[in-house]
């Protein structure tokens, strides 16, 4: 509770005038309040990811999904504290930062801001790691997961992050110096997560039963659409913190960001729904949920430098993109149970390009060029680092559980647990609900 020294600020005590506080100080306080609340909102995205990933996978792996999400945040927070923050925001050697490990720079005037900024950046770092967990779900060893989770949060993500965002703190990044626009991280966070997920899904291989003997795709429906839907709402909520909070300043610029974020997500959901309806004659729930997320990822880079109308267009295109991307990866036998590669990787790249194309500062080939450069460089880095990392882990400790363990489910094999002990959860192929229309 408020220590005595803070009494000045306690209203209702008639003391407020005693200590003069100036407007700049109040604004500074407001920046802290805003940045931290935004960080807490981003934190809730961990719950969102858990619910989406659990909902989109089978009941027999639900405990494992929860464990992975709980752990990538926990491990990520410690890793980002120890190493990641310094690599990303420390004084840079041109390629990555080399100071500010373990809060070593947190002292003097800037100490409090160091903490606030770390808090906000940590929830971002955890997001990048979490993205992967969906793509490699239902077959990855938990121990392997823990290992790469540390590497991603503490090394892979921070290094590339420093190129575009290092200058926000003590660092300085070569890409930001070229004028690369990625306000809240379509590329820095989402694409990086998505391309790492791609590498992971390739190395670990498709789930048993995802392709039949003839190589045809056999969808493996997720076990709880209500949880997945809840997750999408939680993510959308958290995204307001993600995008608008990236001002790290409590000022009027956050309003436009909230608007563009809303419109893009809405457009993404509507278009993804419409596209499936058009294509299959029925509107697909899972893809609609993915569409909302696609719109959110798409607007993340340009949320503060595009108009509301552009936001609608960006979201709408993301909504189609995600559908065809999911179908594409399914076809080339990259099995991604939740669509993470398409949502975060592909739509992240699209969003980054769009932030250049729709820049309210006016269209410029050079800006678009830098955006494309950024997209390519981050793909190369994240996918490359991912392939090496996952291959190494595969060789050294094995990425994937055994066939028997996969059939029995990771919940039992890895955690000796059952997610729903009071329910029968045997999957005989998906079933109809009762009262199915007779003889159809």
């Amino acid at each position: 509770m408020a220590a005595a020294g803070l009494v000045l600020a306690l209203p209702g005590f008639g003391l407020a005038e005693e200590v003069a506080i100036n407007a700049a100080e109040v604004q500074e306080n407001l920046n802290f309040v805003w940045t931290l609340i935004a960080a807490f909102m981003v934190f809730i995205m961990q719950a969102g990811f858990s619910m989406v990933e659990a909902g989109f996978t089978r009941a027999k792996n639900a405990c494992n999904i929860l464990m992975k999400n709980m752990m990538d945040f926990s491990v990520g927070a410690l890793g980002f504290w120890a190493l990641g923050f310094g690599l990303m925001f420390g004084v840079s050697n041109g390629f990555f930062g080399t100071t500010d490990f373990f809060f070593s720079g947190a002292s003097g005037e800037g100490e409090a801001w160091n903490y606030a900024f770390w808090m906000f950046q940590t929830v971002f770092a955890a997001t990048a790691a979490t993205i992967i967990s969906g793509a490699v779900a239902e077959r990855t060893k938990f121990s392997a997961y823990l290992v790469y989770s540390v590497f991603v949060s503490a090394i892979v993500y921070p290094i590339s992050g420093s190129w575009a965002w290092g200058g926000l703190f003590n660092g300085s990044g070569w890409l930001e110096n070229l004028g690369f626009i990625d306000f809240a991280g379509s590329t820095v966070v989402h694409s990086v997560g998505g391309w790492l997920a791609l590498a992971g899904a390739i190395v670990v291989g498709p789930r048993l039963g995802k392709y039949d003997k003839g190589g045809k795709v056999k969808p493996i429906p997720g076990h709880s659409i209500p949880l997945a839907g809840l997750g999408v709402f939680l993510l959308w909520f958290g995204w307001y913190g993600f995008n608008a909070g990236s001002t790290t300043t409590g000022d009027t610029s956050i309003a436009l960001i909230a608007v563009t974020t809303t419109l893009a997500a809405a457009a993404g959901a509507i278009v993804a729904m419409g596209a499936t309806w058009f294509k299959y004659g029925k509107s697909d729930v899972g893809m609609t949920l993915n569409g909302a997320l696609a719109g959110l990822v798409g607007i993340t880079a340009g949320c503060e430098n595009v108009s509301p109308l552009s936001a609608v267009i960006i979201g709408a295109i993301a909504g189609v993109l995600v559908l065809y991307s999911v179908l594409f990866f399914d076809k080339i036998k990259v099995d991604d149970p939740v669509g993470a590669i398409s949502v975060h990787g592909v739509c992240g790249a699209w969003g980054t390009l769009a932030a250049g194309l729709f820049d309210t500062a006016g269209f410029s080939l050079q800006v678009v060029g830098v955006q494309l450069l950024g997209i390519v460089v981050y793909f190369a880095w994240a996918f490359g680092a991912g392939l090496i990392l996952f291959k190494l882990i595969d060789v050294l400790m094995g990425m994937r559980v055994s066939k028997e363990e996969e059939m029995a489910g990771l919940d039992f094999c890895e955690h000796g647990a059952s997610a729903y002990p009071d329910f029968q959860t045997v999957r005989l192929g998906t079933v109809f609900t009762p009262g199915e229309s007779a003889g159809k």
Partner: protein, 112 residues
């Protein structure tokens, strides 16, 4: 005694149950099963991909009856459960040698 085992469409349960009650049948045991037969299952959609469902939910009703009531009951169920479309289900009958009421230890038709 005989056991009458019928596989019906789930939404027919209520009506069959009432028909049986009207016939004075005082007991039955119901369970959820999934059927595979002529009725072929449907396609479903999941995140942009279609797939086939092979097993269709059905309800199984098991009734143990004195021999003399079997014909009448089978016919009543048949009429009530029929919709005339594929997948209406089956009724199977086989012999039961003994029945015991757990509560009282009564046996045979007394136990039903």
């Amino acid at each position: 005694m005989k056991k009458v085992e019928c596989i019906i469409k789930p939404f027919k349960l209520e009506e069959v149950k009432e028909t049986l009650a009207n016939l004075g049948i005082s007991g039955m045991t119901v369970s959820e099963v999934r059927g595979f037969g002529r009725q072929k299952g449907h396609a479903e959609l999941y995140r942009g991909a279609e797939y086939q469902i092979d097993f269709i939910p059905k309800i199984k009703i098991e009734l143990v009856l004195p021999d003399e009531r079997v014909a009448e009951v089978v016919e009543a169920i048949r009429q009530e459960a029929a919709t005339g479309t594929i997948g209406d289900g089956k009724i199977f009958v086989h012999g039961v040698e003994q029945a015991v009421r757990i509560r009282t230890g009564e046996t045979g038709s007394e136990a039903l």
